[in-house]
Amino acid sequence: MTMQIADTVSLQASDAKARAHAAAARDNLRTEPRAVRIAIITLAIMFLTVFVVLPLVVVFAQAFSRGILAYLAALAEPEAMAAIKLTLIVAAISVGLNLVFGLVAAWAIAKFEFRGKTFLITLIDLPFSVSPVISGLVFVLLFGAQGYFGNWLRDHDIQILFAVPGIALATTFVTFPFVARALIPLMQEQGTQEEEAAISLGASGLQTFFRVTLPNIKWGVLYGVLLCNARAMGEFGAVSVVSGHIRGETNTMPLLVEILYNEYQFVAAFAIASLLAMLALITLIAKTVLERHLDEGEDASDH
């Protein structure tokens, strides 16, 4: 009897050991060894530190290297103020235009079947695949003094190149895909049934759009606008080609940063750069929040 109990106990003990062993073995099967995991994570963190965190820190450190007063003074320079103002105007124009274009394009692609749809989708992506410098040059070719419309524009005294319209056009072109790209998959997934339901309930086209379609895609719209805005304010290449770099007039913030840097005005250059960096940080945070909303929207529609 005692023997039996002892046996059972030792059996249980060895059982437990065997089970623990099996569990450890299973863990090893399921995931990489500890050392490998730590190594990979460390590598990732180091990479991020060197390529992302360090540059950010440097931007702010340089901007504030002569103290906060010098920083504020650099931002208060008329040239800096003009660049900030121009950047905001250009961003407002191009985001506004792309919001409308993007909505229309996404609507057409997601809700209707027509010939050449694939071609249109490819076309929408074009600005992403073309170098921004080329995008800028296209507008020089079109509206420059030697360009296709150059003479006509000069005769009618319309200034596009080296002025706000040119910068806005180039920026709009470069940032065109953002809103459309954010909306097309969303609208395709949602389909047309809710719109059909709205129309059969007596809603007009506009009522359907504002009461059904738009509320369903509002987070996607915000997401597209956010990314579009970030790119519009930060665009360098295309704008650089069409701007003409007229000080206090056609320099956007990124262009001014380069000019100031080349003139060894490091505090001023990094002060403006710090604004762009902050824009990037705010964009990132807002993007995270919006992505959560978009995911929730998907869950809600998941029936």
Partner: protein, 344 residues
């Protein structure tokens, strides 16, 4: 409201979704469009609703040309298979939608709208869900809300596209009965599309059986079950045994064996013999039109389903009452109580 459809044709590319459809729906009817997928039933429904347009043909409501109106003007309640509730609106606002988008001149005031929505939610017995969002409801609840929303505009016609298609079997059965009593209560001309014969036969006053863009038969549930007009209808509705036979000289042959069945009035040539599974009566070997060996037997409640290999080589399934147990290996005679033969 009566609906009349004349010679409707609708093609998607080279595929004819509707290939010359004629249909008359009487006032207050509850009609089922029954057919396999791709038979054109949903296309027909969507054309009546104004969500699709035919290539040719006519649709009229009470003798008025309906194709001259868009979906918005037709005043048709449409219930979608996947509900299509507005996901960002509460149940209450979903039901109120049709009332809120009315032109200002005829729009009711807020109190009237609220009362009407309350009334509709009571009708579908879901007034306690008014403040929920569609994603918080079960499938059956969503479909009832979709129905309440469609009824809010006091539609002249109610169209339901596979209304119970996305629901599980138990909820489906409940809702079927509920839809029938609801129709009895509101008595609006209704058409629903289904691929489920049981649903069509149980709910509808009249059943329209469709296949490949054409109407195969229109009749009462009893008609389409008891006297199928075509081979397709016989095969599609109810469980049927289908055997290829040859009719010539007043004799029906299965393979080379003549069957003891009357061939009176039949067109000579290759034909199809249809027998309901439960219409095959089992007898001792040597009696009846067929003879065969039982292969398997399974019991389904009151019936036993036996797989029988006929002496000609064909295998059929029959449903026999359980008063006389069949066993694998038995040789039996089979005699069809009722059968139908279609040429072709």
């Amino acid at each position: 409201m009566t609906i009349e459809v004349r010679n409707l044709v609708k093609k998607f590319g080279s595929f004819a979704a509707l290939d010359g459809v004629d249909l008359k729906v009487d006032n207050g009817e509850l009609l089922a469009l029954l057919g396999p997928s791709g038979s054109g039933k949903t296309t027909l429904l969507r054309i009546i609703a104004g969500l699709d347009w035919p290539d040719s043909g006519e649709v009229s409501f009470n003798g008025e040309d309906a194709l001259a109106q868009g979906a918005r003007e037709r005043h048709v309640g449409f219930v979608f298979q996947h509900y299509a509730l507005f996901r960002h609106m509460t149940v209450f606002e979903n039901v109120a939608f049709g009332l809120r988008v009315q032109p200002r001149a005829v729009r009711k005031d807020e109190a009237t709208i609220r009362a009407r929505v309350k009334e509709l939610l009571d009708l579908v017995q879901l007034d306690w869900l008014a403040d929920r969002y569609p994603s918080q409801l079960s499938g059956g609840q969503r479909q009832r809300i979709a129905l309440a929303r469609a009824l809010a505009i006091e539609p002249r016609i109610l169209l339901l596209d596979e209304p119970f298609g996305a629901l599980d079997a138990k909820v489906r059965k409940e809702l079927r009965r509920w839809l029938r009593s609801l129709h009895h209560e509101i008595n609006v001309t209704s058409i629903f599309v289904t691929h489920d014969q049981e649903e069509a036969l149980e709910v509808a006053n009249r059943v329209v059986v469709m296949d490949k863009g054409r109407i195969e038969q229109i009749g009462s549930p009893d008609d389409v079950y008891e006297t199928p007009a075509t081979a397709f209808v016989h095969g599609f509705i109810g469980e049927s045994i289908e055997l290829p036979v040859q009719v010539d000289g007043g004799v029906i042959r299965l393979g080379d064996r003549p069957l003891q069945l009357t061939a009176e009035g039949l067109v000579p040539g290759a034909s199809k013999l249809f027998v309901r599974r439960h219409d095959m009566l089992v007898g001792p070997p040597g009696t009846g039109a067929f003879e065969g060996a039982v292969q398997h037997v399974r019991n389904f409640g009151p019936v036993q389903r036996a797989e029988v290999a006929l002496s000609g080589g064909e295998t059929i399934e029959i449903d026999a009452p359980r008063d006389k147990e069949l066993r694998a290996g038995d040789t039996i005679g089979l005699n069809p109580r009722r059968y139908r033969i279609f040429a072709g």
